[in-house]
């Protein structure tokens, strides 16, 4: 087909390029007229349902058993229960629907009725299924509390148990005491902060950029879900991150220095420190994103055809600031998905092939992900941070504040807490004063307590692999010596 001159022949405009290959007939059954275009391939509604179900199960089931499946598929026998991280958004609504129809209340429309492995058996795969929701309205001013709306939605499903959390639980000592082993020592920090909400707002109010705020809220939510999943005896935590959302989080994370965590962004195996936590059969939680091969468009079509009630998540911008990196990345990826849909899949597949360089040096005290060795040395080489020579010390931080934790943070968390924008930010929480050092999440305080316990014993050191104190010899500390070591942590009466 040649291009004519459009100025003389107005009908000779180049025809719009089709968004699909070949014809409008379904590429799978080759009989029905297609209903949806998925990355240039056309599917009818009847073939779309099993396609979506297959992709979901392919991303989840090989990782259900303690030892991930090889070429031969075995029966699904997880070590523990299942926790679903539910945000109310599109992806997690679709995930909840698929989990419920595949494993809790098997729907023959999704599973092969001819029998075999796909036949809904009498024994459920998961003994218990929990749906955990973290309310973030106290972190983001002006947003609505949707806990009751989500509770009503989840309670409409049989066979699942609802666990509501609030993001300020990350700073709630009573929450930490509930989920941590009884004999685990813990000294709370920052006596001046009275309530978890105040501690949360003080922490968020001290962040330097809107990017840092979004990253921190996401991090706190994820770690809360991880600890809750472990506490419920769940061996698996599933999140509703779609292919599109995963591409956004990968690019956004990498742009903030999170290249070392590129594998963890897709899937990870997490266990809490210290070893005292691992007293039951479940020693770790496998965090899986079963919709990572399913685009947002496919999720939307599934939700529409299944008549799902999607409550949604509010979009929020810090007033008076530029959009953060997460928002900019999301807009970029959405534009790509509209015009070049295969590129989104290419981003995720390429990131899956990456193997970060460098060694791991323990675990970040904030985000609980592997910390790359040499972060502080690298930062010292590339920028002047202080006119004074940095003090090198093996002594743990005397105050578990964000500033003092620098040597124990990964690159992303350090950058999140210390990067500076080009202009001063308006105050996020007017009622919170910024004079004192903000508290840190309870799991971070717990790690600091362990470090102090090890240092106070003086003759012990921390195991490099597990961060567990290894006692070489013991001696009794005097009361005054112990009080001085823990002085900064003791609450006023």
């Amino acid at each position: 087909m040649s291009c004519e001159n459009p100025t003389t022949d107005t009908d000779a405009l180049m025809p719009r390029r089709k968004k699909y290959d070949k014809s409008r007939t379904c590429v799978k059954c080759k009989e029905n007229v297609g209903n949806i275009v998925v990355r240039h391939a056309v599917y009818c509604r009847a073939c779309f349902v099993p396609l979506m179900t297959f992709r979901f199960r392919r991303s989840l089931e090989p990782f259900v058993n303690a030892k991930p499946d090889g070429p031969r598929r075995t029966a699904l026998k997880p070590l523990g229960h299942l926790t679903i991280g539910f945000s109310g958004g599109l992806g997690s609504s679709v995930l909840l629907n698929l989990i419920h129809r595949c494993y809790v209340s098997p729907d023959p429309a999704l599973l092969n009725q001819d029998g075999g492995k796909d036949h809904p058996s009498k024994d459920p795969v998961w003994r218990k299924v929990f749906v955990c929701y973290v309310e973030t309205c106290d972190a983001i001013p002006g947003t609505k509390d949707r806990t009751e709306e989500i509770r009503n939605l989840v309670q409409g499903l049989n066979g699942v148990e609802f666990i509501p959390l609030r993001i300020q639980d990350a700073f709630d000592i009573s929450w930490w005491r509930k989920i941590s082993p009884k004999n685990l020592p813990f000294i709370p920090t920052d006596a001046s902060v009275q309530s978890p909400s105040s501690a949360l707002q003080a922490y968020l109010g001290s962040l330097p950029t809107s990017t840092a705020l979004a990253t921190t809220v996401g991090m706190l939510t994820r770690v809360l879900l991880q600890y809750t999943a472990f506490q419920t005896g769940s061996s698996h935590l599933v999140l509703g991150t779609s292919l599109t959302s995963l591409a956004v989080s990968l690019i956004s994370s990498i742009s903030q220095g999170g290249g070392f965590h590129v594998k963890e962004e897709a899937q990870e195996e997490w266990f809490p420190y210290p070893v005292a936590f691992a007293q039951g059969q479940v020693k770790s939680v496998r965090i899986i994103r079963p919709l990572r091969d399913v685009s947002t468009k496919e999720c939307a079509v599934w939700a529409w055809w299944a008549r799902l009630d999607v409550i949604g998540r509010e979009q929020w911008e810090w007033p008076g600031t530029k959009p953060g990196l997460g928002r900019l990345t999301k807009d970029f990826i959405r534009g790509l998905e509209k015009d070049y849909p295969s590129t989104v899949s290419a981003i995720v597949r390429t990131c899956a092939k990456l193997a970060p360089k460098g060694e791991t040096s323990g675990r970040c005290m904030l985000c609980e992900r592997p910390a790359q060795a040499g972060v502080q040395e690298w930062k010292a080489r590339i920028a002047i941070r202080s006119w004074k020579e940095p003090a090198h010390s093996n002594t743990p931080p005397s105050v578990a504040s964000a500033d003092a934790l620098a040597p124990y943070l990964c690159y992303v968390c350090h950058t999140t807490l210390t990067s500076r924008g080009t202009r001063a930010l308006p105050s996020l929480f007017a009622s919170i004063s910024t004079g004192h050092t903000p508290a840190v999440p309870t799991w971070t305080s717990s790690r600091v307590t362990q470090l102090h316990s090890a240092a106070a014993a003086q003759d012990s050191f921390l195991d490099v692999e597990t961060d567990e104190p290894v006692v070489v010899s013991r001696r009794k500390m005097g009361q005054e010596e112990l009080r001085q070591a823990l002085n900064g942590f003791i609450l006023e009466d």
């Binding site: 719009r16 968004k19 699909y20 409008r24 007229v33 297609g34 209903n35 949806i36 275009v37 056309v42 509604r45 945000s87 958004g89 599109l90 992806g91 997690s92 999140l239 509703g240 991150t241 779609s242 599109t244 959302s245 919709l291 947002t296 468009k297 999720c299 939307a300 079509v301 939700a303 529409w304 055809w305 999607v310 949604g312 998540r313 509010e314 979009q315 999301k330 807009d331 959405r334 534009g335 998905e337 509209k338």
Partner: protein
Amino acid sequence: MSSINVKIEFGGGLELLFSNQRSHRVSIPAKVPLSSKPEDAEKSPEDKPADITYLMYWLRDNLLKEREELFIENGSVRPGILVLVNDTDWELEGEGEYAIQEGDEIVFISTLHGG
């Protein structure tokens, strides 16, 4: 001037921009100016059958209550909004150039609230 009756549905939170009402029955002209943008309509004497692009501007001018930029961007629906025509992806029907028929059901679904 003849008109055609169309059923419009909003999903995924998009209904919040349209009086929080998910379902609407509207009546639009069967023939519309060649340029779907109302601001350019007077300059184009020729007409064409009403299409999705025209419907989009019609909805903006007659039903949309707030935040136009969350619905329309650069002459089309904002990226992240999925359009179904009679349960079929509008990419299979010619996108904005699909000529609307009497009794069609057009669905606009927002995918902007993530995972």
